[in-house]
């Protein structure tokens, strides 16, 4: 029975996702969103037990939680559940909501699936589900902005899928087996191993927002509805992360590559976030930055990536929800409360001592080389900077529209996530890190956490007085846009003369054919034919006579 649990966890959201297909149920469909991740949460709380092999399904489906699966699954389930509540409260019911519900559930199933997949095909399927179905979360508003963002998102997602497919196939071909463990083992030594790994890096990198493949993140987040952004940033990007963990052999040079790319992302994205006006865009850059840190950890072989990811997921989701909550806040008090929650979360992510984020940072510094520890510490400063900027932008964020009466519910969701982000790391500390429960209370640790945040806060205060340059989200995109315009110009200049050529050709053939009629009239008159007949007669006679 236990064995079926992972399977049930995946099937449940898929089944729920079909609910809106029934027209009568469609108006209330949004309310199933909070229900969909519950079995997964249960599985996580139970410690993610169970493993199952379904030989007939796909190319043989293996399901079992990945290492650290419980953390990922729990975080994912919580983020999705809270976002679900938010969505159910804020989004207007209707056909769009029905579609969203269906694909929300599909995305969720995929998101959970990447943490449960035991074979590459299932993994690929889950990855595709989370990546492609999430498109519906991005474009939900159907505004021009959302659709443009969706286009970028889906393009990159598909490119990522393609890259992933290459990598997985190279691995599977080398392993002659489809299980994740075999593929991972076979990849480094496969004939096309480096190429495959590079492809995987691209595939996962796109999802995980690795520089320079992060383009979609800052574009998609502001466009998506708030709960969508919350799951995108909180949970979905972690699918890329788990891919990196599962498949990239960090022991070889690939780890360093990840570290470098991760660090560049961590700092550059945070700083670039300062050029954004939309709080969600700022948050998106923060996500790129945080994911950079996570990738650095992966590349460095840290064993507490899951712990860090857990906190980041919860906190980032809470912050995104706060954007929605602020917009729905009717009274200054509500607004203040929300901003407080968001501020606490910002501090937590920055690693303010004793916060959940500080614990995550502390744990992940374990076993890292000094430069990396320093980088991590410094990143706290940039994080504070960007999140401080976020708070500034958030404070100026006003509701354009919203369901004000639902504010308490919305607030509860965000506050719930925030509370979890603060508390769960404490709760799990010993179990996960094996360190003493009082370790984070150590003075050195507190100090180490405090000074970068303080410095960051000072910088924020300075920034507040300055006018920051403002760019639209999507940095490198502008470059690509230029290239595309060039290409279109070239295409338009191509000549179109082929058709005329064929017609002329045909006419010429016809003329030749018609000429045959005139040629035939040479044989027509009897004197010609008769003369030829004589010639043929004699030719036959001679040709017979000569050899005999």
């Amino acid at each position: 029975m236990n064995a079926l649990l992972p399977f049930a966890v995946l099937i449940w959201p898929l089944l729920l996702g079909l609910v809106p297909a029934v027209p009568r149920w469609r108006p209330h469909a949004l309310w199933i969103l909070p229900l969909a991740p519950l079995p997964a949460l249960g599985l996580a709380l139970a410690g993610a037990p169970g493993a199952i092999f379904l030989p007939d399904l796909l190319l043989g489906v293996h399901l079992a939680a990945v290492p650290g699966g419980a953390l990922y699954l729990g975080m994912t389930a919580l983020v999705w559940a809270a976002a679900g509540v938010h969505a159910a409260l804020t989004l207007p019911p209707g056909p769009k909501a029905g579609a969203l519900t269906g694909f929300w559930c599909l995305t969720l199933a995929g998101n959970l699936g990447v943490f449960l997949a035991g074979d590459v095909v299932t993994f690929y399927l889950a990855f595709a589900a989370v990546s492609l179905a999430a498109w519906f979360l991005v474009v939900h508003e159907r505004t021009k902005k959302a659709l443009a963002a969706g286009k970028l998102y889906i393009t990159l997602a598909i490119l990522g899928e393609a890259a992933l497919l290459i990598g997985l196939m190279i691995g599977a071909a080398a392993a002659e087996d489809l299980r994740v463990s075999s593929v991972r083992a076979a990849l480094p030594d496969a004939p096309l191993g480096p190429f495959g790994i590079a492809a995987l890096l691209v595939g996962f990198g796109i999802k995980a927002g690795m520089i320079p493949l992060h383009l979609w993140l800052p574009v998609a987040h502001p466009a998506a509805p708030v709960p969508g952004s919350a799951v995108l940033s909180g949970a979905i990007v972690k699918a890329g992360l788990i891919g990196m963990i599962l498949f990239i052999p960090v022991a070889s040079g690939w780890g360093s590559l990840l570290v470098v790319a991760g660090l560049i992302g961590a700092f550059a994205a945070a700083l670039w976030g300062l050029t954004q006006q939309d709080p969600k865009a700022v948050l998106a850059y923060s996500t790129v930055s945080q994911m950079g840190l996570l990738l650095t950890l992966v590349g460095a072989g840290s064993s507490h990536v899951a712990f860090y990811a857990l906190h980041h997921g919860l906190a980032k989701a809470a912050m995104f929800l706060c954007v929605g909550v602020v917009a729905a806040a009717a009274t200054p008090r509500a607004r203040l409360l929300t901003l407080t929650i968001a501020g606490i979360m910002a501090l937590s992510v920055s690693g303010f001592p004793l916060s959940g984020g500080a614990l995550a940072k502390l744990a992940s510094k374990e076993g890292l080389s000094d430069p990396l520890v320093l980088a991590l510490t410094l990143s706290s400063m940039t994080t504070t900077l960007v999140l401080g900027w976020f708070m500034l932008r958030l404070a100026r964020h006003h509701a354009t529209r919203g369901h004000r009466p639902v504010w308490p519910g919305l607030f509860a969701g965000a506050a719930f996530l925030a509370a979890l982000a603060l508390l769960v790391p404490w709760f799990l500390w010993e179990r996960v890190t094996g360190l003493q429960g009082t370790y984070p209370l150590g003075q050195a640790n507190i100090l180490a956490g405090l000074w970068p945040v303080m410095l960051g806060l000072v910088a924020v205060a300075v920034l507040r007085a300055r006018a920051m340059p403002s760019y639209p989200p999507g940095d490198l995109l502008a470059l690509l846009e230029m290239l595309r315009a060039r290409l279109i110009l070239v295409q338009k200049a191509a000549p179109q003369s082929r058709r005329n050529f064929t017609i002329g050709h045909r006419r010429r053939i016809l003329r030749i054919l018609l000429r045959s009629r005139r040629a035939d009239s040479f044989f027509q008159p009897w004197p010609h034919a008769g003369f030829l007949l004589t010639v043929v007669t004699l030719a036959f006679a001679i040709s017979i006579w000569l050899p005999n």
Partner: protein, 100 residues
């Protein structure tokens, strides 16, 4: 020797007939030429059949049959020529008529 004379005459008649068939556009004259060819051929055959001392009756029989067949063909050809002349006013074939 006489036979050779007749045979060569036959050969010459055939040639003459062929000449007439090719050179004469008038259809009635072409029928005449055809008959010349045929009869020249028969003469050749007759001469050949008479070589073995006694006259071989088989060629004679064949020649008689041939003459009758030639007559039949000539009659039909002449009928066609007359009919063509009646309906088109020409005694040459349309594709050999320089002034149609």
């Amino acid at each position: 020797m006489s036979l050779t004379v007749f045979a060569l005459t036959g050969a010459a008649l055939v040639g003459l007939g062929v000449y007439g068939l090719l050179a004469l556009p008038h259809l009635l004259r072409r029928v005449i030429a055809f008959n010349l060819t045929g009869s020249g051929l028969f003469l050749f055959f007759g001469a050949a059949g008479a070589r073995g001392g006694a006259v071989d009756p088989v060629p004679q029989a064949l020649i008689i049959t041939g003459i009758v067949v030639a007559l039949s063909a000539s009659a039909l050809a002449v009928g066609l020529v007359v009919a063509l002349a009646r309906s088109s006013g020409k005694v040459v074939l349309p594709d050999e008529d320089p002034a149609p």
